[in-house]
């Protein structure tokens, strides 16, 4: 679209985006004394990014993996090992970790795509657990004790900071970057191949799409993002152990996408922001009263959302009167904005 043809709607939409980005950019300036709140933001950034990685495979391709914690954990381990054992630069280690985990996932997991539906999901759980068991028994990687990353002077090059703000900004860039990538994929030939495979593999084959090939591509991209998030996690917490790969964490990357709306590129973002804020709030408010009650409340909220909005919050929102109202009244959407 050329600038000259921008409708009022397009302009207002852009203003809204710029506004949101500005708010996100200045938040650390006001929260520098509140490391806890900063931590929640960082948590939202990397969990939502993981959820987008999951959603490429689950939401867009229809391959429901429950092994994504293992990709992230493996990414964290590979990066941490490069940093601690080989003394490599953390940024370079992150890149290597992405390449190694992506390659490994593509090669090792390849045969799993011969399985479909729930069988695929089961194998992805087994696959994740295998990696975890391997790491637990791996002397070089510290077995169950895990790996600590060296502390030291603050340095961007060393991916090491005293305050949370730099991690916040790196996390923010990560989530925005991955979001833009997902949007690009969604509108690309690749994205259409993935959606066709999700809807019907026979149809995909009948119009020249090789399902196996594109499923593996999606897995490689997805696991590379997971490895990036894993590396970030390792540098941020400066300590990792095999619990990172617990299967229950995989579920935490699935939920934001499902609750937000797996059919939408924005689903994991909306779901991630809401779910993490909610679970942190519940933990603070209720966790101390009766241990575990926060988890029960969390589960209830999940049940209600999934029961009444199976297409996710965005699925509901995109059809709702609220959106229409916002579009027409605030963003001045007109007929012209409805193309195709």
């Amino acid at each position: 679209m050329k600038t000259s043809t921008l409708t009022p709607y397009a302009i207002r939409k852009r203003i809204a985006i710029v506004l949101l980005l500005t708010i996100l950019a200045v938040i650390p300036l006001f929260l520098s004394r509140q490391p806890y709140v900063m931590n929640v933001f960082i948590l939202i950034f990397y969990t939502s990014t993981m959820s987008m990685a999951w959603n490429l495979l689950g939401g867009m391709t229809g391959q429901n993996s429950l092994g994504h914690a293992a990709y992230m954990g493996l990414g964290a381990y590979v990066a941490a090992l490069f940093v601690t054992k080989a003394g490599l630069n953390p940024w370079l280690s992150m890149l290597l970790s992405m390449l190694i985990v992506g390659g490994l996932a593509g090669i090792v997991f390849y045969p799993c795509f011969l399985l479909k539906g729930p069988y695929f999901t089961l194998v992805s759980i087994a696959f994740g657990e295998t990696i975890r068991q391997f790491v637990i028994n791996w002397d070089f990687a510290g077995k169950a004790t895990g790996i600590s990353l060296p502390f030291g002077a603050e340095s961007f090059l060393e991916f090491r900071f005293m305050s949370k703000a730099p991690y916040y900004y790196i996390g923010l860039i990560m989530i925005i970057g991955v979001y833009l990538l997902m949007r690009k994929i969604s509108k690309s030939k690749f994205g259409f191949a993935l959606r066709t495979i999700r809807e019907d593999e026979d149809v995909a084959s009948a119009i020249g799409i090789k399902p196996m090939k594109y499923k593996v591509y999606a897995l490689i991209v997805s696991s590379m993002i997971a490895a990036m998030v894993g590396s970030f996690y390792a540098y941020y917490n400066r300590y990792i152990d095999p619990d990172l790969m617990l299967q229950s964490y995989s579920v935490e990357f699935v939920l934001p996408a499902i609750v937000g709306g797996a059919a939408f590129v924005e689903g994991p973002l909306v779901g991630g922001a809401i779910l993490i804020t909610l679970s942190e709030f519940l933990r603070n408010e209720f966790g101390a009263i009766l241990p575990g009650i926060n988890l029960i409340l969390y589960a209830v909220v999940l049940l209600v959302v999934i029961r009444f909005r199976p297409v996710g919050l965005l699925g509901w929102f995109s059809e709702s009167k609220l959106k229409k109202m916002i579009d027409v009244k605030i963003l001045k959407k007109s007929e012209k904005d409805e193309e195709v």
């Binding site: 995909a204 084959s205 020249g208 799409i209």
Partner: protein, 247 residues
């Protein structure tokens, strides 16, 4: 026949104990509309699926423009210029109609380079197949006639030379059948060779220059629609003198 576009050499398909198709041979003339008829369960779709690479024949060979394609994968057919529809419609239900056709424009022989180009091709094809007005409707929300059309639109958007249609008129009322016949003729006029399976005799007679009859997995007759209809054995099968299915 001189240079048939498709040549089938005594193909057989066994499903476990069942012989669904046995020793069937025929040829499809380039540029023509060829039909296949036969009672329910005769093995028509099975024959069709073998030719389209959906499953390999247990025996026999299949040639496309003289080249053997017996063991090609279905996704290799698009580039060769062969497209198909499914008897049991397979709409990409959760996607709008236009997005059902866009993937064909990307992966077919138009080889669209951008979403804009792919959309243009898709909209052209939707226009051609009479689905333009429905372009924004979710595919699963359409009725049978439109889903049948969508099957054809999706196949056409790959820009085939050879189109396989499996009962695209089943479940249509007479008026809808009439317009489907028109559409098929229009596709053929645009230079696409067509092979179709159909139960509706009127359609077969008005469209096909050559008809193949299957019964119990065997080819029992072939020729012009007239020849076939007057074949005593075919009449016997169709009139059910021996208590067979009638179509």
């Amino acid at each position: 026949m001189e240079n048939p576009i498709i040549k089938v050499e005594s193909i057989t398909k066994n499903f476990k104990g069942l012989k669904a198709v046995s020793d069937v041979s025929f040829e499809i003339r380039s540029g023509a509309i060829t039909g296949m008829i036969g009672p329910n369960g005769a093995g028509k779709s099975t024959t069709f699926n073998m030719i389209c690479g959906y499953y390999p024949p247990s025996n026999g060979k299949i040639f496309y423009k003289g080249e053997e394609i017996t063991h090609k994968h279905p996704y290799e057919y698009t580039n060769m210029g062969i497209a198909r529809t499914f008897q049991i419609m397979k709409p990409l239900g959760n996607l709008p109609v236009v997005d059902n056709v866009v993937p064909s424009a990307y992966f077919g022989r138009y080889g669209a380079k951008s979403l804009k180009e792919a959309r243009e091709i898709a909209l052209d094809v939707l226009n051609f197949t009479g689905l333009y007005e429905k372009r924004k409707v979710l595919a699963k929300d359409m009725g049978t006639p439109d889903q049948k059309r969508l099957e054809m639109a999706r196949a056409l958007a790959t820009k085939p030379e050879m189109l396989f249609l499996d009962e695209v008129m089943a479940g249509l009322n007479p008026a809808e059948t009439e317009s489907a016949i028109e559409l098929i003729r229009k596709i053929n006029d645009s230079g696409v060779t067509i092979f179709l399976i159909e139960h509706i005799m009127k359609a077969v007679v008005s469209l096909c220059e050559h008809v193949i009859v299957l019964h119990h997995g065997e080819k029992i007759s072939e020729g012009t629609p007239e020849e076939v209809m007057n074949d005593p054995y075919v009449m016997e099968v169709y009139l059910g003198k021996k208590g067979e299915n009638n179509a």
